[in-house]
């Protein structure tokens, strides 16, 4: 982890860390707004779209799947925020975390898939994608493990950066 102490480093790096940090925080603020908007939208959909409409007992499979999709979206948004939080405060990006978030997002989409209207090639493509992401996670972890073993042995790791 390439943690640069303080912000006021000499030369071109002056202020970059502050800039980065505040950009992250502003972005997180906007994502938080989006999250609140999604939550309120879900509540609105549930209360007005179903209770007030009188269609409560005609709740179809599509409605349920739509709501479930929104619920799962909340979790994905929170995960993204958490990753950004780590980037803003600890100055590190966990690539493997991002890969895992991608797997979570795809899995969430698969949970609310409507299999009646999808093509088989789409399913096969999603499968290949999930497999590739899983393999990528495995390989990234493997590489990190080997470079950390090198560190323990006192050797210089190949690269030392924030990822």
């Amino acid at each position: 982890m390439n943690v640069v102490e303080g912000g006021g480093r000499k030369g071109t790096r002056f202020g970059f860390r502050e800039f980065k940090k505040w950009s992250i925080f502003v972005t997180m603020g906007f994502i938080a707004l989006l999250l609140v908007y999604v939550l309120l939208g879900m509540a609105y959909y549930l209360v007005y779209g179903l209770f007030m409409d009188g269609t409560l007992f005609y709740l179809t499979k599509e409605d349920i799947l739509y709501l479930l999709g929104s619920f799962l979206m909340v979790v994905v948004i929170l995960e993204i925020m958490e990753t950004m939080w780590l980037y803003g405060t600890k100055d590190e990006i966990h690539v493997e975390s991002v890969v895992l978030i991608a797997i979570t997002a795809i899995a969430n989409q698969l949970i609310v898939f409507d299999f009646q209207v999808t093509a088989g090639s789409l399913l096969a493509g999603a499968g290949v994608l999930v497999l590739a992401l899983g393999a990528a996670f495995y390989l990234i972890r493997n590489t990190q493990w080997q470079s950390s073993e090198k560190k323990e042995l006192g050797e210089k790791p190949d690269r030392d950066d924030l990822f």
């Binding site: 925080f25 938080a32 999250l35 609140v36 939550l39 879900m42 509540a43 549930l46 179903l50 409560l56 007992f57 709740l59 499979k61 349920i64 709501l67 479930l68 619920f71 799962l72 979790v75 995960e79 925020m81 958490e82 990753t83 939080w85 405060t89 966990h94 493997e96 975390s97 895992l100 978030i101 797997i103 979570t104 899995a107 969430n108 698969l110 949970i111 609310v112 898939f113 299999f115 999808t118 093509a119 088989g120 090639s121 399913l123 096969a124 999603a126 499968g127 290949v128 994608l129 999930v130 497999l131 992401l133 899983g134 393999a135 996670f137 495995y138 972890r141 493997n142 493990w145 950390s148």
Partner: protein, 144 residues
């Protein structure tokens, strides 16, 4: 700022869980009414198969929703997401669809695609868990 973030996280999860449980209650109520309707109806034996598959599908959907709630609960309390669990839920959801599939009216390509999908999900699950076991990371992570 960190406290605000954690508060936001916790409360959005709880809010979502409340909404999910409302949906779950509605679904259970619908299920009960549907079963009663089916039993008291005159044409119980005539349109049997499609109705039974529909009810079965709703039951399995209840299970999927409960699993999602459990994942959310773990996320809210222990602040960690287990990706393996999410992948397993996806497998459950797809299997649910396959159980209530109307096999007479689907193309073979769709089935092949679903098969590839399930195989890859299982492999991804294996790879994730194996990566955790063989190469435990030296840093704490919120998403596992």
């Amino acid at each position: 700022v960190h406290d605000y973030f954690r508060l936001l996280k916790k409360w959005s999860i709880y809010f979502t869980m409340v909404l999910v449980s409302i949906v779950l209650l509605i679904m259970l109520a619908i299920l009960v009414f549907y079963v009663i309707d089916l039993i008291t109806g005159n044409n119980f034996f005539i349109e049997g198969k499609a109705d039974i598959l529909y009810i079965l599908g709703l039951f399995l959907l209840v299970v999927v929703i409960l699993e999602i709630m459990e994942t959310m609960y773990i996320y809210a309390t222990k602040e960690e997401i287990h990706v393996g669990a999410v992948v397993l839920i996806a497998i459950t959801a797809i299997s649910r669809e396959l159980i209530v599939f109307d096999y007479e009216h689907v193309a073979g390509a769709l089935l092949a695609g679903a098969g590839i999908l399930i195989a890859s999900l299982a492999t991804a699950y294996y790879l994730i868990l194996r990566a955790h076991r063989e190469f435990p990371g030296e840093r704490e992570d919120h998403i596992k």
